[in-house]
């Protein structure tokens, strides 16, 4: 077996970790290839911290952080970004909320001022809150108009009964509609503290100098009360769950989810290899079988990512032609059975490892990508995960892959979601050029 050539620690070797006295974790990584600095702040709060009736709070809060503070009035954060030729955005997930700025390296420090200020001084003007609620509801509706958006939402809501991963990140519509500015503000006070955040700065700067500036901007913000930990655990699933979503489409879509372990669990590495063997690239198992030989799908994917709590291993496919959704599902089950029984070939295993290694390197070119990797892994687990990552991937053998396939990707722990026609799609055939 050929072994991987590059240790993954290259991604963390120049990273400096500093903890301010108020608990703010600061990760700096100097990269001088382009005159760019990416600064990101990560909060350890996401939809996993939300209770039913109050879903969507983390995401709504992310929107409110662009609506101004006493010092940076409404619109000023974007305006400063514009004037300085930068870019900014933010994203919310199950496990975290993250904000970033990209600026040229001669003017990036305004980002520190903005992040420090809006960590504690977000304005919550009631009128702005109601206006932004409409925007969030439009975002939620855009998701519902996407067949995959809708199907995955229903799938996750079925796969989990207890754990908050069952709720959509954007929230359930009635929760968003009923959200009040007071509740939203209280949520902000609970989670936005220096000791619940990670600041990541990557790019063209001098770390020594920058750490002084970070301390100046953030050092005076007092530490907050540590938020209560989220303790809900998903009870074991005891049998297959199936659901059908009816929708205006004649294209059948299949989403399957299996309960799988959290980040850095011993089995997680073999499961990552399994996902690649199954569906990454044209030589992969499911692609060869379902796209190439059976012609039953337009695409098939397998996806298993890092998460703070036990998560899902997803397999998705979109049907084509006259192939039934049951036939598509049967092919997937059959390949999983084969792997559970016979394992994977040495060649498949090597190929998958090299794909993981190359992806790890090829997707880190921009400073933003590097900052995302560092911030995400520090938020979910700790940077030592990266240091040993490729080594652990390299240690996976065929028996490991068969073993995790058998134990995790089995009938009793799966949820099978199908999106099928509601019989109305004829109405949508208004495209006169379609034939």
């Amino acid at each position: 077996m050929s072994s991987l050539m590059i240790p993954s620690a290259f991604a963390t070797e120049d990273v400096r970790k500093t903890v301010l006295s108020n608990g703010l974790v600061v990760l700096t990584k100097e990269v001088h290839t382009s005159p760019i600095v990416t600064s990101m702040i990560w909060y350890r709060v996401g939809s996993r911290n939300e209770e039913l009736g109050h879903t969507g709070k983390s995401h709504f809060l992310e929107h409110m952080l662009f609506k101004g503070t006493e010092r940076f009035k409404k619109g000023e954060i974007d305006l400063l970004t514009l004037k300085n030729g930068g870019a900014n955005n933010a994203f919310t997930s199950h496990d975290f909320t993250a904000y970033y700025f990209n600026f040229a390296s001669d003017r990036w420090e305004i980002a520190l001022e903005i992040e420090a200020d809006r960590m504690v001084n977000c304005a919550f003007d009631p009128e702005e809150f109601e206006a932004e609620k409409k925007v969030v509801i439009e975002e939620l509706k855009t998701g519902l108009d996407s067949p995959w958006g809708l199907l995955l939402q229903e799938e996750e809501a079925t796969a989990y009964k207890v754990h908050p991963y069952r709720n959509p990140i954007v929230g359930w519509l009635q929760d968003v509609e009923r959200a009040t500015v007071e509740q939203q503000q209280a949520y902000y006070r609970r989670y936005y503290h220096p000791n619940n955040a990670i600041l990541v700065i990557a790019g063209d700067f001098d770390a020594e100098d920058v750490l002084k500036k970070v301390d100046h901007a953030f050092g005076s913000i007092p530490a907050g009360a540590q938020p209560e930990p989220m303790l809900l655990e998903e009870p074991p699933q005891r049998g297959e769950r199936r659901l059908v979503v009816r929708w205006r489409s004649k294209v059948p879509r299949l989403a399957m989810a299996y309960h799988a372990p959290k980040i850095a669990a011993p089995d997680s590495y073999a499961l990552q290899v399994l996902a690649v063997v199954l569906a990454e690239g044209k030589a992969s198992r499911l692609y060869q079988r379902m796209v190439e030989r059976e012609h039953s799908v337009t695409f098939v994917s397998a996806d298993y990512g890092e998460a703070k709590d036990p998560t899902l291993f997803h397999i998705r496919a979109e049907g084509r032609g006259d192939h039934s959704i049951n036939e598509i599902e049967a092919s997937i089950h059959d390949e999983l059975t084969k792997i559970s029984t016979d394992g994977v070939t040495t060649h498949e295993l090597d190929r998958a490892k090299h794909q993981i290694e190359a992806h790890f390197i090829l997707s880190r070119e921009r400073t933003l990508d590097q900052a995302i990797l560092l911030g995400q892994i520090e938020t979910l687990y700790g940077l030592n995960y990266i240091d040993s990552y490729l080594q652990r991937i390299d240690a996976v053998n065929s028996a490991d892959v068969a073993d995790v396939c058998r134990r995790y990707l089995n009938e009793n722990s799966r949820t099978v979601a199908q999106l099928l026609s509601d019989g109305s799609e004829g109405d949508a055939e208004d495209d006169d050029e379609a034939d």
């Binding site: 760019i36 662009f66 439009e138 519902l144 108009d145 949508a428």
Partner: protein
Amino acid sequence: MTKPTEIDLRRPLEVHSHTLNNGLTILLVENPSLPTVSMTASVLAGARHDPESKAGLAIMVSRLLDEGTENRTSLEIADAIESVGGAIDTDGSFERIVAMAGVLNKDVDLGLELLSDLLIRPIFPQEYVDKEKERTLAEIVSAQDRPQVVAGWAFNELVYQDHPLHRPSHGYPNTVERLTRDDLLEFHRRFFVPNNIILSVVGDFRVPEFLPKIEKALGAWEAKPLIFPIYPEPTRQNTKRVKFITMPAQQLNIYLGHLGISRTNPDYYALQVLDTILGGGAGFTARIPQRLRDELGLAYTTFASITMTAGLDPGRFVSFIGTSPENMKLAIDELLNEIRRIIEEPVSAQELQDAQDYLTGSFVFGFESSPQIARFLVHAQVYGLGFDFIEKYPQYVRAVSVNDVTRVARKYLDSENYTLVVVGPVAEDGNLLNGTQ
């Protein structure tokens, strides 16, 4: 706040440009920041060259390039590149067919070998032609589930009329069905010639070592005369064109606009400034997102641009909003108001200054990764920008005045003769459907 100054790239791009005897253009940039190499071959023929009856041909060619050559089967190609963790992607657009290989530096020879093979010797096996046709047809049906896609297609039909850009680049079901293997081979014979190809390589390699290898792999390929089909320039509409398409959905997807400009238009930079003020820029600073999203809460997504789609052919001026059905009239009125305002009233000196600072400052983000640089090299070559474009760009943008913005707004935007397409829970006569959710 300190006044922003122009930014220089830390390392000015050193572009090594060569033309082989057979006319193949080679553009090389060493970028050793990561141990990777990005190779892109651009064939300068695309869906704009498809005859109407064979719409979708160029895209079909691009999708089948890596599905078998005289030397390798589809699976052998995929397995060879994936076994070293590399990737080959082939893709097509209206202007170009592109084959890309991304590899670690140690695998650069393999990447070049595979890329050369699929450019020179693809065989388009009948089995794969049949399969790809069926797959494309299925994807067209799948795409019709997305209101924004349906709206975009209908908008292009109305804006371009008989010009090739009126159609989706992948063609129509009835034209895709009729494509044959001979059509693909003929397209390849006609347009895949070295004098119609740009090879750009960016990453961790040395020019003196790699250039002879390229010459060896591609130098013996024979040049041929090229004849491109001729079609008339599209014309700007002089009446309103409106279409409502019924689709049960939560939101209406609204496109409002008309024919735009080509990339070589001398007013391109003034229009980039206009785009930044009207519908683009950072966050929600531009007038349309500020008014329709931030103030009125009508949408999550709303924007406008005329330069975004500028290419060899004129692109489109597009303003877009996805909004709840009850907002339809207000949303359309507000889009038109903003278009009218920028035509009728001069922008402020501050708006101009901010847009210029934004464009010249954020420019640097387009040159961070090897694939980004490879893309720039092709654009520089195809649109005649020159490789010193990076140094010149700030001057082009700084030269734009308030009067220029007004002049180009009046010349290129039209708030009367436009195309409007609305897709969602709306009847064909434009009335909202009752009770749709």
